[in-house]
Amino acid sequence: MATSAISLPRLARHNPLAAAGVVLVVAFVICAIFAPWLAPHDPAQINLPGRLDSPSLSRWCGTDELGRDICSRLIHGARISMFVGSSVVAMSLGIGLIVGCIAGYYGGRIDRFVNIVLMNAFLSFPGILLAIAFVAFRGPGIFNLVLALSLGGWVGYARLVRAQVLATREKEFVEAARALGASDLRVVVRHILPNIIQPVIVQAAIGMAGAILAEATMSFLGLGVPPPTASWGAMLNDARAHLFDAPHLVLFPAVAVMLAVLSFNFIGDALRDLLDPRSRIEAGL
């Protein structure tokens, strides 16, 4: 798999969906990083005489109820989506790795506490409800949003990491490392982690899709990044009032969210097939 997996044309032949996913993700990341230079207009500039314009040559995706350029807002919206998505995944993954490693490696009472008390406490609420509750009482804002979504997100990673560590710590090479006098930290970081990281990467790719969807949901409910910052979910929420007179307001942000979520799902699916051939057999593919 080493070098051949990286070549895009080869990937496109073997798995066109994954290739499409990679291309889309790269496009979204470029939009997110270079938004101020790529956007044709200022995303917050209000222009009331030109409100609710249909798509045209100068305004590719039309304008919204305040006359703001939708295309520019979509490009800037990618920023929020990618930033919040990757922050949530990084934070959840970080907490999940630490908690999962500690529980799985030390086992015993710590493991029982983490597995039975801590994880069940967070699993007793659906993740998005936890996020809604947190933002409702702490107030909106990008930091609170990331924190809120990570609150329910880390458990999935912690469970996976714990199960993997539990299985790996009995292996001979771990025993060998310990016999050579390696510290617990060294054994976990240098010996166990590299061996369990593959399924974690798959989970992170699929988790990215979930985080983007969750961010858009929160913004749609008015619990995301406060206006006038452009975010796809908030754009969809604004569009509801103009379903009759300007349906393009719904269409473009809807497609943006869908493509972003879809591309990470494609990549996640392809990575799982690539890294874990067993799942391919189990799924009957």
Binding site: L17, N120, A121, S124, F125, P126, G127, I128, L129, I132, A133, F134, A136, F137, R138, G139, A209, L213, A216, T217, F220, L221, G222, L223, G233, L236, N237, A239, R240, L243, F244, P247, V250, L251, P253, A254, V257, M258, V261, L262, N265, F266, D269, E282, A283, G284
Partner: protein, 305 residues
Amino acid sequence: MLRYVIHRVLYTLPVIWLVVSLVFLLIHLVPGDPIAQMLGEGAPAADLAAARHAYGLDLPLSQQYFNYWKGVVHGDLGTSLRYNQKVSKLLGQRYPYTLQLTWAALIVAVLLSIPAGVHSARQRNRWDDRTISVVSLFGLSFPNFALGPILILFFSIKLGWLPVSGAGTFASQVLPAITMGGALAAILTRMVRTSMLEELNQDYVRTARAKGLNENVVVYRHALRNAMIPVTTVLGLQFGALLAGAIVTERIFSWPGVGRLMIDAISNRDYYLVQGCILAVGLTYVAVNFLTDLLYSAVNPRIRQ
């Protein structure tokens, strides 16, 4: 079976304790003074003190916790500032609507996913299997808050077949149910397909075919029954996502359920009402997980041992 039920009840009790305790703590997450936030800026100090006393926020935390439990057990979740009514009464009015919508969405998801998943498994790797796979991946990725408005655009505005919003008639339920059940249908289709593929390769299926049974009987009476066992678990796990979907769907279709009540309460900073809504949704989730466990053990007796 009775022993299993008691075991599950004993397991569920601490979860309920956890949910109630977490919901109790929510009000203390508010930065600053929740009463000042609720009454708004410029409220006189005397009013603030009176409200704080009325809500019991001037008591020690342990006393507040005790009182909260007392309230929960007696069905008293405080008073909504905005509606000036008991939170439990408001919840009682709205909860049936959310339940109704959730049922409708579940029915939509099951009706779509079982035939699609079974067909996909029988036609493995043919073009219709691939089409169903791609469509379900799209369904999985298409957010319900985008699906809802697009359904309205098409079926209500362009075709004029179904109402845009409201609740009461059967027709007004159709679009919300599809919006809410769509993603679940996609997940279940994939699950049913995988599970069916496994069952169709089992020996008992070969035996059933060998004794000359009709293929439909083999698939639906023999294989599907066993294939549904893992699907039931996923159904329970996905219920949380379904409840979150209810919050979004109710907002799109102005459906008078708990979800809309909660979002309105959040924007009004009606904290006790928000707390009540979250408790109601959280406890529903716990109850559904409990029932799924029981259902799972009923269809799969092996789990009881």
